[in-house]
Symmetry: C2
Subunit: 387 residues, 2 copies
């Protein structure tokens, strides 16, 4: 499948999911407009539509109907965006799809609630599936989704635990476990599994299909880690080297830390233990403090030189133990020195090849279709994409 | 039913729900212990067990079996505690059941994720209900729970919107709508409805039962508002006048604002628009700033008197536009002046009477049982309780 066709397939799946999501949102004036409008904020940003596309393709490649899978595909997009809202709070991310994250725009309280609202709304179409797919398939899809959500929060907890414990001796296997739990299940494995369930596939096939999706998810995440250090801010939609500023465990950082000398490693961990710089003092406090400092100068209690020292200390965050650009450069240098980008590229490639083997086995008995070609196309897309 | 019997009924329901919740939590070492241990934090605090007790009583008063309703009752306790975790973040609450809130103890990222994990875990027993109750009843319970979660987030959004818009002209009817959505559904209405569904009740009965629960929920919340201004910190488990510090819309505050002169109202709204006081500067910043101030004194750039002024300004938050104890006293005075506590007590009483009428109608065809007596006992308990 050509790149253009693949992007067309993705765009169509995204439009379909958006339409379904819109139809879920109550229209009456009694409903909380602010809440329901904000639920569309992330989905309407320039998303890829990967999850609904994988779900639809897995269903239709086996002869399933589009209408049988459409609501379920939309639900996955809804879960994805709900997780993004909560993850952005948990990871203290600042940019999402080229715009400030929801909690930066509307505050943590509203962002937590909008995420919860999306999780709540996602249940209804899965219950309505009984009319569309019958009880057996509907319940299997519900079971799959419940399992998916549980694993996603476990993956998130695993990463948060590493952060809390300042744990940096994370093996590639640990990294893969975290990635598969945190994003693999809801982004790849469950989409293809529930697509297949909607089409009526039986169990042995599901194992191979899950294997394809699991391997692909690791390749995808490693490529995501790579893009974060390769792309400029505008094109990529996230912050350049944002992962290093956040202190995220990425495959190349973990590799560089393992290769580093004891001294380099100590220095890198010291940098990584620093917070990312934020305005250290709330604006109203800063303003009050500045006027207090001015008053002390006027009263002769503080010299003008002293004022400058305090102002820069208090207001520009110089006293906060936060990362500097030079700290991030030091980490980048370590990653360069030990060829960790190349290491990550090779691993991404090898996970995608493993995914290809599983996909070929699963697809062997199936007739050729654009849906099957899309799934094969995703193998290349994962590594070729620039965002 | 005597107070002792009622408390025994509540305690038994709470123990049962806790046992079910414990059985849901994965035991293997692969699972994220930190995540699953934190899921028990709020449920193990000294909770009332009201929701599982209402659910069990509504089921058994109609001849339903305990085992038919136990998992569903536990799920309600799980939802309740998940909502509390997220609400505490959204309302910036500091105390929950006599201890610091989860996000104060473990940070917002972990608390958001633990709440999500509890919402995820709550799905499984509802799916397993199919084996216990058959498909029809199980799906009706799932529908009820999905509806409940949707209304709860709408209620939360309604309140967050009022806060964002600094809206204080809130009528009693608006207040009741918010209360019923935010806590009424998940605390009262859904517990009795799903209890009845588990027992196999038909629709007309459900309307009367829902009416009982809806009225009771408003009476309960008004009493909660009253307790917040009557009880000391230790006994009540929340902060005395915490609602006023948080700027929560309570029935008596809204009444006092309506009765106040234009000038009083302006002054009260000015107080209410102030944030609650928090440590204005992160500890590490404060420490750095303090050592910078000391250095300036040592260098003769800052007088010792200036140092004291700056230290108290910077470190004790005196410059933040935050509520003071005198501000809260001013609001308390307004509430006293206009008899708003009495107004609230009368309203709580009248909602409970309305609940009693609905309960008597619903109960008319039922045989006497301790479960029915518990439901009647709850009518008194709601107003007589001290926490």
């Amino acid at each position: 499948m050509s790149e253009g066709d693949l992007k067309g397939y993705l765009a169509e799946a995204r439009e379909l999911a958006l339409g379904e999501i819109r139809s879920l949102i109550p229209r009456d004036q009694q409903a909380q407009r602010s809440l329901y409008d904000l639920m569309l904020d992330y989905p309407l940003r320039d998303a890829k539509g990967l999850r609904p596309a994988l779900c639809i393709a897995a269903c239709r490649a086996q002869g399933g109907q589009l209408q049988a899978v459409a609501p379920t595909a939309a639900v996955l997009e809804l879960y994805h965006n709900a997780f993004l809202i909560h993850d952005d709070i948990e990871d203290q991310s600042e940019l999402r799809r080229g715009q400030p994250t929801l909690h930066l725009q509307h505050g943590v309280p509203i962002a937590v609630n909008v995420g919860d609202a999306m999780l709540a709304l996602a249940l209804q179409p899965l219950l309505d599936n009984t009319r569309l797919l019958g009880l057996g398939r509907s319940l299997r899809i519900l079971q799959s989704v419940a399992h998916m959500v549980t694993l996603s929060v476990e993956g998130q907890a695993l990463e948060l635990d590493w952060i809390a414990a300042r744990k940096w001796d994370v093996s590639d296997a640990d990294y893969c476990e975290m990635v598969v739990k945190k994003t693999g299940w809801y982004s790849f494995i469950t989409p293809v599994l529930v697509g297949a369930i909607a089409a009526g596939t039986t169990s042995p096939d599901l194992a191979r299909l899950a294997d394809f999706a699991r391997s692909l998810s690791v390749g995808f995440q490693i490529q995501d880690d790579i893009l974060n250090l390769e792309q400029g801010r505008g094109e990529y939609g996230k912050e350049f080297a944002g992962d290093l500023w956040e202190g995220k465990r990425t495959l190349m950082l973990l590799h560089a830390l393992r290769q580093a000398t004891a001294e380099e490693r100590r220095a890198a961990e010291a940098v990584l233990s620093k917070a990312r710089p934020r305005s250290p003092i709330a604006p109203e406090v800063g303003a009050g403090l500045a006027s207090c400092i001015d008053r002390l100068v006027a009263e002769g209690q503080l010299s003008p030189r002293g004022r400058e020292a305090l102002r820069s200390a208090a207001l520009q965050g110089a006293l906060q133990e936060a990362k500097q650009a030079s700290d991030v450069d030091q980490l980048l240098e370590l990653i360069r020195k030990y060829g960790s980008m190349q290491y990550a590229r090779e691993h991404a490639q090898s996970w995608v090849e493993r995914a290809a083997v599983a996909l070929r086995e699963w697809a062997a008995p199936l007739e050729d279709s654009q849906h099957l070609r899309f799934l094969f196309g995703v193998l290349n897309y994962v590594l070729a994409r620039t965002r």
